[in-house]
């Protein structure tokens, strides 16, 4: 029989005395109440001590706090558990401040409402069960998929904290797309030197194992107990257990090669970067001829990627200032949303770089061996002055389309990660923030999520390192069983729940000993498959519970009973 202890929180006077007295009087009439006291500062350590004393003295086995929103109390009682000698799930909050006192027009209505809320909270907590917490030991092992600049940085940061990292790379060597970087425009170090140091730095670290020319073939298990099967290009396969996975597989760049865009005088931004790094004296040569007029044609494919605009301005300024070229930059909008870019943009204009903002895409044609760019300049005020401008150029620089790598789709299938609307990993859901994925223990960083500048990707790398360390630092993952559980006797193996679970926490396995369909006379050693929810990977959302046609799944902290109790019907 339940013995419920009730604490009424005055919340620094925001619940008036008359109100509290009415509630106390109401509670006196309810059975199974062990005690009812008023308290203050419940989440402070002194408050918790006083509560512990009251609970022991009153012999209560579950408690209700009558006060404000549960969100004020839960951090102290639910998740960081056992601060009072009671199971954190034998606890409920009657929200009489935000949802009764403050929402009703007059005090009488508020008191009636508060009484209803208190009554149903008491019913709800009477239907609660104690839920135990468990601990899953986590080995400090991480698999990083992708050996580009982000993968390398993450591996190095994690290795510093004594985590064993396996760095998996599909290609022959490390570096990824950053190997195409030829020039840092605002840092004195040479890119090649910086990249070489980073790449060789990785091989020197003892607890980073680099595996190149290999791919992920299969992934089983859940956080803390992943089993990754890696297949090398020579056919050998190895099994790697790991606690967490980081995906940093990068992006692919596609350049438009049809028609005039395939002309040899049309190059892409990384190629221009290469040219600039190789230019020795004060002029630029392309195919042996001096380059005098360069036009950058941007925003043809990506409108929301800043990197192109930033690189174009930096490259344009260099060409104009030191290599004696006349540069024109054509774009829909000049993207200066990065540190120092507005100043660079003004400097470029001062030095003579021409900027044209267009609405209709510029047309390219070949005239006497040079490329002519026709654009309508929208900056002119009078429409009659908006003549089409024609530029005869020696070189045209265009942006490439940023697309996901061809392996992204199959990788998302192997890892059971979601894909966004453009095919990059993980849809844009603000609740998942930047580096998390739909699965616990799998993190996504860098351009495989969305292409961005190198400096931003490096910040993401450190944020991932922070998340991984937060997961592994205690050596164990503490979780409670406030998650879904399948009753194997009722499971008909219809495969609805594994397909539905957004966190891929359900698998069908042979672990159940019997289900209702076992034939008579079958021995006890017959193991039947049933759906199994991994308690560590489950987020407790309840989607599977609601969908199961056989009602075989229970969500332990939100059972049907508790929900019906909340509906407020005297059943």
């Amino acid at each position: 029989m339940a013995r419920i202890g009730i604490f009424i929180d005055a919340l620094q006077g925001s619940i008036p005395i008359s109100f509290r007295e009415s509630i106390t009087a109401f509670i006196q009439g309810i059975p199974h109440i062990a005690f009812c006291v008023e308290e203050e500062n419940l989440t402070s350590s002194e408050g918790l001590d006083r509560m512990t004393k009251s609970i022991k003295a009153g012999g209560a086995d579950r408690i209700v706090i009558v006060g404000g929103s549960p969100k004020n109390y839960e951090a102290s009682f639910h998740k960081w558990g056992y601060l009072v000698p009671l199971n954190p799930y034998l606890f409920a909050v009657a929200n009489v401040r935000e949802q009764a006192l403050w929402q009703m027009v007059d005090e009488n209505a508020a008191i009636e409402r508060a009484k209803a809320v208190v009554a149903k909270t008491i019913r709800m907590v009477s239907a609660s069960h104690a839920l135990e917490a468990q601990s899953l030991p986590l080995k400090p092992e991480v698999l990083v998929i992708g050996g580009g600049i982000v993968g390398i940085s993450i591996a190095q940061e994690l290795a510093k904290t004594k985590i064993n990292v396996t760095l998996l790379e599909r290609g022959k060597g490390l570096g990824g797309s950053a190997l195409d970087l030829r020039k840092f425009y605002n840092r004195p170090e040479e890119v090649r030197k910086w990249m070489d140091e980073k790449v060789s730095g990785v091989s020197r670290v003892p607890n980073i194992t680099v595996i190149t020319q290999a791919e992920l073939k299969r992934l089983d298990g859940h956080v803390g107990r992943f089993q990754a099967k890696i297949r090398r290009h020579d056919g050998t396969e190895t099994l790697h257990p790991t606690s967490a996975i980081v995906v940093a597989t990068g992006y692919a760049a596609q350049r438009e090669a049809k028609g005039i865009y395939g002309h040899k005088k049309v190059i892409v931004l990384p190629e221009m970067g290469k040219l600039l790094s190789e230019a020795t004296d004060s002029s630029l040569l392309w195919e042996g001829k001096k380059v005098e007029m360069v036009a950058f044609v941007l925003d043809g494919v990506n409108e929301d990627i800043k990197v192109d605009s930033i690189n174009a301005i930096k490259q344009g300024l260099l060409l104009q200032e030191t290599l004696g070229c006349q540069v024109a930059i054509l774009c829909k909008d000049v993207k200066v949303a990065a540190e120092g870019m507005e100043r660079l943009y003004r400097k470029a204009r001062e030095k003579g770089v021409l900027f044209f903002k267009y609405e209709e895409p510029p047309k390219l044609s070949i005239v006497n061996g040079q490329i002519q760019v026709d654009v309508r300049d929208t900056a002119a005020i009078q429409k009659k002055e908006q003549w089409p401008v024609s530029l005869l150029c020696d070189l045209i620089v265009v942006s490439e389309a940023f697309t996901p790598t061809p392996e992204t789709e199959s990788l998302s299938g192997l890892l059971k990660l979601h894909l966004g609307s453009r095919g990059f990993l993980m849809e844009d859901n603000p609740q998942l923030l930047r580096v998390r994925s739909n699965r616990r223990g799998i993190f996504v960083a860098g351009a495989c999520r969305f292409p961005q500048e190198v400096s931003e990707s490096l910040i993401e790398a450190r944020a991932v390192a922070q998340e991984v360390i937060a997961l592994l630092s205690k050596g164990a993952y503490d979780y409670d069983l406030a998650v879904a559980e399948v009753d194997p006797k009722k499971c008909a193996v219809c495969y609805t729940c594994p397909r539905l679970c957004p966190h891929s926490a359900i698998t069908v396995e042979k672990y159940a000993e019997r289900n209702i369909y076992s034939p008579p006379g079958a021995g006890d050693e017959t193991k039947w498959g049933a759906a199994k929810v991994d308690p560590v990977a489950c987020y407790g959302c309840g989607i599977c519970v609601a969908e199961c046609p056989a009602k075989a799944i229970t969500l332990h902290h939100e059972t049907d009973e508790q929900i019906y109790a909340q509906m407020g019907f005297r059943d």
Partner: protein, 343 residues
């Protein structure tokens, strides 16, 4: 005297994120906030969804705030500010004051997350903010939608049928010396427009801009839907002055009409100024107290790596909520490394 590992100055989204991340690593922190409630500027933002989420991240801030309440290893001090600093890197004693009370705290590391203020729109006298009732800032509009739940003109309480949004107020402006882009205002204003037009489809908006900067998630699709919306005019022309007619209470604005290709003058029921970001006014004395310097653009420059002082969030340079959270996580990592390196 109390001792904590880390002191975080500033209880906005960046400060809260650093505190939560360090708490996950088992590092106790003290969070100090000047106002009477934590949350900072972004806690006053409204939800900018239309038929589906528009990825403005405002709800994420509210979630983080409720996550931090009642946590045992994060001590939150509101209405408190630092007044003095003594000691050496790794072993600082910081003096705090709350009203008349004074207290000292020993910390190993300090994180500055002081945040930003919206640019003071009244300094652009030609726009008439503070003089004309129906000229408001984007922050005023946000608060109106969040706390009142409806859109109305301050002068008569009626629904404005036409709204003009002026971009780049206080940013990219040589005349006031703010030579930087505040990065978030274009996306922010467009999301507000979309949210308003979803709730009140008869409202027509005119977006007057210089260059549209991408920010937040799924921006390409979002911008395409804005361009396709017949009730939104995107015009690349910044107005120089707002004209007020006391007889009709009209606000008139001159800009280049792209259709006709000539100067046009139109009246609007409501004018919203998208103000840029400047460093929070209390962050300057704080930075000086802690021996920090400023960047060319007036934000706090990154401190020396071994100083034990870290700067995070928008006070180090304009950022939206998404990037502030990411930056705060990265800063928490640096703090963790620093503390480990000292032991």
């Amino acid at each position: 005297m109390e001792k904590k590992d880390v002191l975080i100055v500033g209880g906005g989204i960046s400060g809260i994120t650093v505190a939560l991340e360090l708490a996950q690593l088992g590092i106790p922190t003290a969070l100090v906030e000047r106002e009477s409630a934590i949350g900072g500027l972004s806690a006053s933002f409204c939800c900018k969804a239309s038929e589906s989420c528009n990825k403005c991240f405002a709800c994420v801030v509210d979630k983080r705030i409720s996550e931090i309440r009642g946590r045992q290893n994060i001590s939150i001090f509101t209405e408190t500010e630092p007044t003095g600093l003594n000691g050496n890197p790794g072993d600082y004693t910081i003096s705090l004051k709350k009203g008349k009370q004074r207290e000292d705290l020993k910390v190993s590391a300090i994180v500055v997350a002081a945040g930003i203020d919206p640019y003071e729109a009244s300094q652009k006298a030609e726009y008439g903010y503070g003089q004309f009732k129906n000229v408001i800032t984007a922050k005023d509009l946000d608060e109106m939608l969040r706390y009142q739940g409806r859109l109305f003109r301050p002068s008569d309480g009626k629904l404005p049928k036409t709204i003009a949004f002026f971009q780049c107020v206080g940013s990219r402006d040589e005349s006031i010396g703010n030579l930087y882009c505040s990065q978030v205002c274009c996306a922010y204003a467009l999301r507000l427009i979309k949210a308003i037009r979803y709730q009140y489809s008869e409202v027509k908006a005119t977006f007057l801009y210089m260059d549209i900067q991408p920010a937040g998630a799924s921006f390409q699709e979002f911008l395409t839907s804005c361009r396709a919306d017949k009730g939104i005019r995107l015009i690349r022309s910044l107005p120089s002055k707002v004209y007020y007619s006391p007889l009709s209470e009209n606000l008139r604005v001159r800009f280049i009409d792209p259709e006709k290709g000539e100067l046009a003058e139109e009246s609007f029921d409501l004018i919203v100024l998208s103000v840029g970001m400047v460093l929070n006014k209390d962050a300057k004395p704080l930075a000086q107290l802690l021996g920090l310097t400023f960047t060319e653009d007036g934000f706090i420059a990154p401190p020396a790596p071994d100083s034990g002082v870290f700067v995070t969030g928008a006070c180090s340079g304009p950022k939206d909520i998404d990037r502030s959270i990411l930056h705060a996580k990265s800063t928490a990592f640096h703090v963790y490394q620093y503390l480990k390196g000292r032991n």
